[in-house]
C-alpha cells in the first residue's frame, strides 16, 4: 500500500486493499450480480490471484485445502443467493474441522434486504449455525474493520470459517480508508497460555503413569505443534496415536506411533487406549468415531485434556486435568517441566507396557490378501506411498478409500493429509487438492477418491485445466458406495439398497474430455507401472481409474455401540492365540 493512509476509496477497492494487507494470495470465487463491483476492482489490480471455480462448493473446498496445507486462511468470494447456498456445505466442512476460512458473500443492496429481491438470501441467518462468526456490513465505514475482525476471528483461538456479507451498494459507496493495524475485542479474547498449576499437575500424573498413552488430534496440526509433540513424546518414550484429523502430528513411521485410532483405527492403538492408566489427549475432541461406546471408553485411565476450546473439554468424556490453551504453548511448558524434573518415567512399567503393545501390534491388523489379478485398494495406497517416497500431499473424499488412505499412507509431516473428518463431505477431495497444490506446488498432490465421491465435484476438472494444476487423482473404483455397501453387508443382511452405481462414466474419456490424461488400471500387476507413468507426467493432471475388488471391506472395525476393545479384525486376520481384550 503506497497510498496515503486515509485516501477516500470505493468499498470494492477497500475490499481489495484489505485483502492485500492481510497477505492474501489466492481468492477462490465465482462472480455474479451482487459482486460485480468487487470483480471489476479485481480486474484492475495485481497481486491477488483469483481462481475461478466451476461451482461455489468447489471454491470453499479449494480454499479449505489451501488453508490446511499452507496454514494461512482460505479466502472465498461468491455472489448472493445461490452463490451463498452453494457454499454452505463447504463452510460447514471447514467449521467441523476448525479450518480458518474467510468467505465473502455478495448481498442485494441494503435498501432491498428483506424484500425477497432477485438472488436474495439471508446469508447471515443461513450460515449462522456453521460458522465461527459472521457479519453483515451495514455501512462502508465499517468495511475495513469488519474484514480485519473476520481474519482475526477466523485464525485465532480455535480457528473456523467467518462469513462477511457485503451488500452491493456498500461496495460502491466511498469513505476514507485506513486498515487497522491492531484489534481489541472486549467480547473475544481466546486463552492461549495454559494454567501453570494444571500443567504441573499434568506432568506429575504423566510421570506416575504405568501404562501411558498419548492421543493427539487436529489441534496439534492447527497449532503448528507437531514438532513439540514429537519431542515431548520421544522424551517420555510413550506410545502415540493420532486421530484422522491429527495424522502427521506425530511421524507415521516412528516406532512409538501406533497408527490411527477409532472406528477403523489399528488394533494396537485402540487396545492401548482401552488399557492405558493415564491418557494425554492433545487437541482432540473425543469424537464418537474415536471413542466408540462412551460407557466402555478408557475405563482405567486418568485423563489429561489440552484444548484451546473450553467447550471441547468434558463435553463427551469427563477429564481429571483439563488444560485450556494453545496445545503448542502448553506442550512446550510441559516439556520444560519435564526437562527440569528429577523424576523419570517408570522404565520397568513402561517396558512391560510396550511388551503388551507389541503383542497387539504383532496382530498386523492392517494385513490383507493381495491378489494376482484383482486390484486390492490397500495395495494401490501402499504402492502410491512407495512411489511418492511418502512425501506427497494427500486429499481424500469420504468413505472406504478415505480410511485406506489414512491407514496405509504414513504421514511423517503435518499438513500433508487433507480430509473432511468431521462433516464427512463427499466431493471434498478434488477441489481441496486444487487448493493444496496452490499452497504447495513443489510437492506431489494426490486426490484419493472413489467413483461416487469424485463425481460430486467433477466439474472442477475444468478449473484444474484453466490454472494448470497437475493433480494426480487415484480413483478407487469399486462401482459401489463402498462404505455404505460395507455397512449394508454387515448390518442389513447384504441388502445393497441404492449403494450401487449402475451407470458410471468412462473415467478415461471423462478426463480426456476435460483436457487431461486418463488411465484405466484393471489388474494388480499394472498398479505400479500405471502410477509411475502418471507421476512421470509432472505437468499434467492424470486421473487413474483403478478398477478394484468390489467387495473389499475396511478392517479393523469397531461397530457402532461397541467399545474400543471390542474391535473386529478382518476374517483372515483372526488368529486363535491373540490376547483377548
Amino acid at each position: 500500500m503506497n497510498e496515503p493512509k486515509s485516501k477516500v476509496m470505493r468499498g470494492a477497492r477497500i475490499f481489495v486493499e484489505a485483502l492485500k494487507a492481510e497477505g492474501v494470495r489466492y481468492l477462490f470465487g465465482y462472480p455474479g450480480g451482487a459482486v460485480l463491483h468487487l470483480y471489476d476492482e479485481l480486474f484492475k489490480q495485481e497481486g491477488l490471484e483469483h481462481i475461478l471455480v466451476r461451482h461455489e462448493q468447489g471454491a470453499t473446498h479449494a480454499a479449505d485445502g489451501y488453508a490446511r496445507v499452507s496454514g494461512a486462511p482460505g479466502v472465498v468470494l461468491v455472489t448472493s443467493g445461490p452463490g451463498v447456498t452453494n457454499c454452505v456445505t463447504g463452510i460447514a466442512t471447514a467449521h467441523m474441522d476448525s479450518i480458518p476460512l474467510v468467505v465473502f458473500t455478495g448481498q442485494v443492496p441494503t435498501a432491498l434486504i428483506g424484500n425477497d429481491a432477485f438472488q436474495e438470501v439471508d446469508a447471515v441467518g443461513i450460515t449462522r449455525p456453521c460458522v465461527k462468526h459472521n457479519f453483515l456490513v451495514e455501512k462502508v465505514e465499517d468495511l475495513a474493520l469488519t474484514i480485519k475482525k473476520a481474519f482475526y476471528i477466523s485464525t485465532t483461538g480455535r480457528p473456523g470459517p467467518v462469513v462477511v456479507d457485503l451488500p452491493k451498494d456498500i461496495t460502491a459507496a466511498e469513505c476514507p480508508f485506513s486498515y487497522p493495524e491492531t484489534l481489541d475485542m472486549r467480547s473475544y479474547k481466546p486463552v492461549t497460555r495454559g494454567h501453570a498449576g494444571q500443567i504441573r499437575k499434568a506432568v506429575k500424573l504423566l510421570l506416575a503413569a504405568r501404562r501411558p498413552m498419548i492421543y493427539s488430534g487436529g489441534g496439534v496440526i492447527l497449532s503448528g505443534a507437531a514438532k513439540v509433540l514429537t519431542d515431548f513424546s520421544r522424551l517420555l518414550g510413550y506410545p502415540v496415536t493420532n486421530t484422522l484429523m491429527g495424522l502427521g502430528g506425530y511421524p507415521g513411521t516412528d516406532s512409538q506411533f501406533l497408527g490411527m485410532l477409532g472406528m477403523h483405527g489399528t488394533y494396537e492403538a485402540n487396545l492401548a487406549m482401552h488399557h492405558c492408566d493415564v491418557l494425554l489427549a492433545v487437541g482432540a475432541r473425543f469424537d464418537d468415531r474415536v471413542t466408540g461406546d462412551l460407557d466402555k471408553f478408557c475405563p482405567e485411565a486418568r485423563i489429561i485434556h489440552i484444548d484451546i476450546d473450553p467447550s471441547c473439554i468434558a463435553k463427551n468424556v469427563d477429564v481429571d486435568i483439563p488444560i485450556v490453551g494453545d496445545v503448542g504453548l502448553v506442550l512446550k511448558e510441559m516439556k520444560q517441566h519435564l526437562d527440569e524434573s528429577d523424576r523419570k518415567p517408570d522404565a520397568e512399567a513402561l517396558q512391560a507396557w510396550w511388551k503388551r503393545i507389541e503383542t497387539w501390534r504383532a496382530q498386523q491388523c492392517l494385513g490383507y490378501q493381495r491378489d494376482a489379478k484383482k486390484i486390492k485398494p490397500q495395495q494401490v495406497i501402499e504402492t502410491l506411498y512407495e512411489i511418492t517416497g511418502g512425501g506427497a500431499c494427500l486429499t481424500s473424499d469420504v468413505g472406504q478409500h478415505q480410511m485406506w488412505a489414512a491407514q496405509f499412507y504414513k504421514f511423517d509431516q503435518p499438513r500433508r493429509w487433507v480430509s473432511s473428518g468431521g462433516l464427512g463431505t463427499m466431493g471434498f477431495g478434488l477441489p481441496a487438492a486444487m487448493g493444496a497444490y496452490l499452497a504447495c506446488p513443489e510437492r506431489d498432490v494426490v486426490c484419493i477418491t472413489g467413483e461416487a465421491s469424485l463425481v460430486m465435484c467433477i466439474q472442477e476438472l475444468s478449473t484444474c485445466l484453466q490454472y494448470g494444476l497437475p493433480i494426480k487423482i487415484v480413483n478407487l473404483n469399486n462401482r459401489y458406495m463402498g462404505m455404505v455397501r460395507q455397512w449394508q453387508e454387515f448390518f442389513y443382511a447384504g441388502r445393497y439398497s441404492h449403494s450401487y452405481m449402475d451407470a458410471l462414466p468412462d473415467f478415461v474419456k471423462l478426463a480426456e474430455s476435460f483436457g487431461h490424461v486418463g488411465i484405466r488400471v484393471e489388474e494388480s500387476v499394472e498398479i505400479k507401472p500405471a502410477l509411475e507413468r502418471a507421476f512421470a507426467m509432472k505437468d499434467r493432471l492424470v486421473l487413474m481409474d483403478f478398477v478394484t475388488d468390489q467387495e473389499e471391506n475396511v478392517y479393523p472395525m469397531i461397530a457402532a455401540g461397541k467399545g474400543q476393545h471390542e474391535m473386529e479384525l478382518s476374517p483372515e486376520q483372526i488368529s486363535p492365540d491373540r490376547e483377548l481384550a
Binding site: 447471515v124 441467518g125 449462522r128 449455525p129 465461527k132 462468526h133 453483515l136 451495514e138 476471528i153 475485542m185 472486549r186 467480547s187 473475544y188 476450546d309 473450553p310 467447550s311 468434558a314 463435553k315
Partner: protein
C-alpha cells in the same frame, strides 16, 4: 435443575438469534429469556432460565461463552441473587367478583392498571413462584389474557456481574 444465567453481549443485529440458535441447535432447553439494553452503550443484558444437569449447564455456559458477541456470562443460581418477573393479567371482573379480585391484588402487592365495567388489567411483579401463586389464587375461568416477561436477575451485594 433450574438455572438462572445472566449475560452481557454486544448489542449487534442478530446477537439474540445467536443465543437462541445455539440453544435449538444443541437441543438445550430455554424456559425464559429476556433481553434489553444496559447503561453501557452498545451492551445488552440477557437473563436466561434453563434446566439441565450440572454437566449440561457447564456445557451451556461454555457454548454461550464461545459466541463472539458475548462479553460475559454468569450463573446466578448458586449465589444470592434477586429475580423478578413482570406479569400482566386481563381478568373478567364484572360485579360480584370485583372486591375479591381487588383484595387479592392488594395481598400480592399488585396494581390494577386498566379498568372497564367488565374487566381489570392487573400488573404484578415478583419471583416466578409468586406469580404462579397469584394465578392459582384466581379463578382460571376469569382470565382473559396473560402476558409474562420471563425472569430478569441480578446478584445481591455491591459487586457487579
Amino acid at each position: 435443575m433450574r438455572r438462572v444465567l445472566t449475560l452481557h453481549m454486544e448489542n449487534q443485529a442478530g446477537a439474540l438469534s445467536r443465543v437462541a440458535g445455539l440453544f435449538s441447535a444443541r437441543a438445550f432447553n430455554i424456559e425464559s429469556l429476556t433481553v434489553a439494553p444496559t447503561e453501557s452503550r452498545g451492551v445488552s443484558r440477557m437473563t436466561l432460565v434453563t434446566r439441565g444437569s450440572e454437566h449440561l449447564v457447564e456445557q451451556i455456559l461454555k457454548q454461550i461463552n464461545k459466541l463472539i458477541d458475548v462479553i460475559k456470562v454468569v450463573d446466578l443460581t448458586e449465589s444470592p441473587h434477586v429475580e423478578r418477573e413482570l406479569m400482566l393479567v386481563k381478568l373478567r371482573a364484572g360485579g360480584e367478583n370485583r372486591p375479591e379480585v381487588r383484595s387479592l391484588v392488594d395481598i400480592f402487592r399488585g396494581k390494577i392498571v386498566d379498568v372497564t365495567p367488565s374487566s381489570y388489567v392487573i400488573e404484578l411483579t415478583g419471583t416466578a413462584d409468586k406469580l404462579e401463586a397469584f394465578l392459582e389464587a384466581l379463578d382460571a375461568r376469569h382470565i382473559l389474557e396473560l402476558a409474562r416477561t420471563g425472569s430478569c436477575g441480578m446478584a445481591r451485594g455491591e459487586k457487579a456481574a
